[in-house]
């Protein structure tokens, strides 16, 4: 049951209508940042207030919600957002990617391929991919309007000149349907290919900067690159997961003892645990 001290999904109806209108325009213009009026949420910025507002605007009582933080379901951030929506929306929750109808995420896309009908909500700290080139919003708006991404290309090419590759492991910019350049949030570039032609609906919420953007299902999403330096999503490690043995998943390095012992394990805890379970079955 929903806690009756709150409106369903916490936000008042006028706020949800405003968010829902912004979401529809975001879906209609893939990769374009729709401004909205961010509301105070009962958690600090940096805890995913943008994602929380998008999730609140989308949830129905029948949903099953999964929340991950850097791939893990059990961090303080993920647990508190999950229990927040259990309380204010009465939704079921899960850690299993395949069983979730809505997944709110910070900094990862699950390893288990998403399926049609699922909604993935990203928490976004800085929605503007051109911000590091141009601090003024009025100017970045014009650059997007004119499709003026030349400066971005120059900056990425300077990376190659300096480091021999584009030195961006996270928040690697993408171009959506050949039009808008978009920040995919600080997911590892390893996850970028999962954005492309996903059967799931992907929604992005930036609370502090008051922006919503979206990728409808089956939308073309290309990581920016150059003919002579094509995009490479792989992480250099070349390791397998020390727990489940996965070779194709994104790994975190964890320190195992005071002597500096370390190992690599899946960042997606549900994926890793499911593989271990299946192996022992």
């Amino acid at each position: 049951m929903t806690d009756q001290a709150y409106n369903f999904a916490y936000l008042d109806e006028a706020t949800k209508r405003m968010l829902r209108r912004a979401l529809l325009k975001a879906v209609a213009i893939p990769g374009y940042q729709v401004p909205f009026s961010s509301r105070e949420m009962p958690m600090p910025y940096g805890w995913g207030t943008g994602g929380v507002q998008v999730t609140a605007a989308c949830l129905v009582p029948e949903d099953t919600l999964k929340v991950i933080d850097q791939g893990a379901d059990d961090t303080t951030n993920a647990v508190s957002i999950r229990s927040f929506f259990e309380k204010v929306a009465g939704v079921a929750t899960t850690e299993a990617t395949a069983e979730a109808s809505v997944i709110q995420t910070r900094h990862r896309i699950p390893e288990t391929p998403l399926h049609a009908g699922q909604i993935l909500v990203f928490q976004v700290p800085i929605p503007e991919p051109l911000r590091f080139l141009e601090p003024r919003e009025t100017e970045t708006r014009v650059m997007h309007a004119l499709e003026d991404y030349g400066l971005m290309q120059v900056r990425l090419y300077e990376d190659i000149a300096r480091h021999g590759e584009i030195a961006r492991a996270y928040a690697y910019p993408v171009k959506v349907e050949g039009r808008y350049v978009m920040d995919p949030s600080p997911i590892p570039k390893f996850d970028n290919p999962k954005l492309n032609m996903s059967p799931a609906l992907q929604l992005f919420g930036a609370g502090r900067e008051c922006r919503i953007y979206a990728l409808p299902p089956f939308t073309r999403v290309e990581s920016l690159d150059f003919e002579d330096y094509p995009f490479t999503p792989s992480k250099a490690a070349g390791q397998d997961c020390a727990i489940c043995g996965a070779s194709g998943s994104y790994l975190d390095e964890v320190i195992t003892d005071d002597a500096g012992g370390r190992m690599f394990v899946c960042s997606d805890t549900d994926y890793c645990a499911t593989r271990v379970q299946e192996a022992s079955a």
Partner: protein, 187 residues
Amino acid sequence: MDGLTPGFDHPATDAARAFRMVLDAMAHPGRIVTLDGPVAPAPCSQAACVALLTLADATTPLHLAGAHDCGPLRDWVAFHLGAPLVGPEDATFALGTWDALGPPAAYRQGTPDYSDRSATLIVEVPALSAHGTRLTGPGIETAAHLSVPDPDALRGNAARFPLGLDFLFTSGAQLAALPRTTKLGDG
């Protein structure tokens, strides 16, 4: 006032479920969804009524076109939405048949730096069917088909991307969406 039919039984959860259907439709152009809920005075369809209750309010100027610009529907809008009634050029939402709504160019198309500031037209159609014009683009894996009025005008709208209108087609309890990104083929 006459014509004061009820709104949502459970405003928060009914609107949440209705929005998910509209979101599903917008994310899958051509997909026909069913919107259960209350009805507004004629000639407003149930789907248009539920979509307006879900999305429109005092902050969204509304244009009622043709036969939809009638006393009972105006009263219903005033009571349930509080949306100011305006001409096409100032509308966030517009409601009417394709012919009554008039040329798409009459509505706000968005601006180059704020392409989201464009109108959404709720177009009442006699029937919705998954046959007709071939649709491709974001939200569509290979191709979809939808009966749409005036494919030529809709092609012209899509050609203005990233500016342009977004459409909700409604008939009875059914709704399908056509965002500006959808490319229309023959038929």
